[in-house]
Amino acid sequence: MRPATPEASLPKGFTAPPIPRRHPTRRPDWLAAYLFLAPAAAVFAAFIAYPLVDGVLTSFTSNVVGRNGQFIGFANFATLLADPHFARAAMNSLFLTSGVVAIKLVVGLACAVLLAQKMPARGLIRALVFLPWAVPGLIAGLSWKWIFDEQAGVLSYLVQALGLTDQPVYWLSDPKIAMFSIGIAMVWHGLPFFTMMFLAALTAIPGDLNEAAAIDGAGPIRRFFAVTLPQMKEVIFVTVMLSAIWTFNSFHMVFILTGGGPAMRTHILPTLAYDYGITQSQLGLGAAVLVSVIPVFFILIMLLTRRMLASKQ
């Protein structure tokens, strides 16, 4: 890369012509690069990589808040394997994530197609439909908690006024219904992200293929599945994966809506980790809950990283 020094190519006895003074920018580029990266690397090392390793180590100890315990091997994991709350939280996490992401995918596609149509005040309508995304997650949770309120909530009133049932509905205190209620709130908050991503992809698709298919006599529904959808594969993949990671970790929704109750039956893994690690001060056990899902996330993140890097090259 760097040219051979002038001396090397000259016969003995000749003195090389004076080498022009090195330009400041001719200093090795990598030094500047590393200096630029240093602050980010410091944050990464101290507050991401180190805690991650420390978390894994903590999960093998009996540490509690404010006092170090001792190394206890796989005892925390053995405890969790025998713990019905852990099994239930894992199942809840799985069903909630897959259900909510599936609904957001289907409804998000429909919304994107809808908002891509010509209509008056389209910009305003889009902004209003995207609005839930701008609401802080905690406040979205509080708002739904109030809607689901079993005494004075508007939803309980509505289902009784419409004659759907004359029994009170325990939106949040019946564990079976509560998981659905949590799911509804999560869909409300997360749907605009899908719609926005899909809408951006839809508008980027050139129209000619679609028109050609129309001329060949394909109806609008057929065109959507045969022409439009295949071109959105990449966006759909990235959106679903991102959303799966974040939905799995919607700590705030469960924490606000049910707090994991009644009788710990609506916990998801992050709220269970909070309950064990922070509320009950058993840091080791809490960390073990989190560490148990790291392998799953590792695979998801690796898959997604490859796609995201490829799309930016």
């Binding site: 690069a33 690397a41 802080p136 908050h189 951006a200 799995f248 690690g277 840091l283």
Partner: protein, 280 residues
């Protein structure tokens, strides 16, 4: 494309109904927050619930603003969010530049580490981060909370800015180099001024994230001088009693700055989302 008259009509009707449902679904819960915040506590619990407040009152806002700790929590939130935004924009721009522009050993690994750090969900990190901050004596400090938020905002800003920097023609950097500019001068005087819109969007997202964040705030800070509004609001929830009027009024106050930003910058936000796949 030629469509038959009936096909157009059906399309119109379906679209109109669809838009009506989508608008109702998106806006009804937000409307309910606002309406509840304007009701008296007696009316809040009235059955049937009233669609409009019978006598709108600002009592709840009055209590939230002048008779509670909420303004202090909002100030704490602002301090933390502004610090996080500034720090992560600077660190992010510094880190994004070499990855977008320079050749050095380990570039691929660095880019990969940044994406992975960005994708790592905060809820996997909160217990070990709690331990780290505790060892540093930074639990229950705003500094600790800012550091915790950097774990998300720095990878995020870096990742987004790499994309923005790549859209700037590299010839500009080369011209600056010929003129004798150092890499730092090139970044500050050539690249950043052009990337300003991108930088603004990135800063906005970092601010929003720090402003809205709940889990870290709940775990890492607990006194009145350090609590952000998200942690503060949960303080209004006492056991099973919820002070709904005050909660909803506080919520309206806390959403307001974000909604103003969102409405002003809506177009850029949607573009930014599509470009970098932002946390939802």
């Amino acid at each position: 494309m030629v469509k038959s008259w009936s096909e157009l009509l059906v399309g119109r009707i379906v679209t109109t109904i669809g838009v009506a449902i989508a608008l109702f679904w998106s806006l009804a819960p937000i409307y309910w927050i606002v309406v509840t915040s304007l009701k008296t506590s007696r009316e809040i619990y009235a059955i049937p619930p009233t669609l409009l407040p019978a006598r709108a009152t600002l009592q709840n806002f009055n209590t939230a603003l002048f008779n509670s700790k909420f303004p202090q929590f909002v100030m704490n939130s602002a301090t933390v969010a502004v610090s996080v935004t500034l720090i992560s924009a600077v660190i992010g721009a510094l880190a994004a530049y070499p990855i977008a522009r320079m050749q050095f050993k380990g570039r691929g690994v660095t880019a990969r580490a940044i994406v992975m750090a960005y994708l790592l969900p905060p809820s996997l990190l909160f217990i070990p981060l709690f331990v780290v901050l505790q060892n540093l004596g930074l639990i229950n400090t705003k500094t600790g909370l800012v550091l915790a938020y950097l774990t998300f905002t720095v990878p995020f800003c870096t990742w987004m800015l790499i994309g923005y920097f790549r859209t700037i023609p590299i010839e500009l950097d080369e011209a600056a180099k010929v003129d004798g500019a150092t890499r730092l001068q090139t970044l500050l005087k050539v690249v950043l001024p052009i990337a300003k819109p991108g930088l603004a969007v990135v800063a906005l997202f970092a601010f929003t994230h720090a402003w809205n964040e709940f889990l870290y705030a709940l775990v890492f800070v607990h006194s009145n001088d350090t609590k952000t509004f998200t942690a503060g609001l949960t303080g209004l929830i006492m056991g099973d009693t919820f002070i709904w009027g005050q909660l909803m009024a506080s919520s309206v106050i806390a959403i307001a700055p974000i909604l103003v930003i969102y409405i002003i910058a809506q177009r850029y936000i949607v573009e930014g989302l599509a470009a970098g796949s932002v946390k939802g």
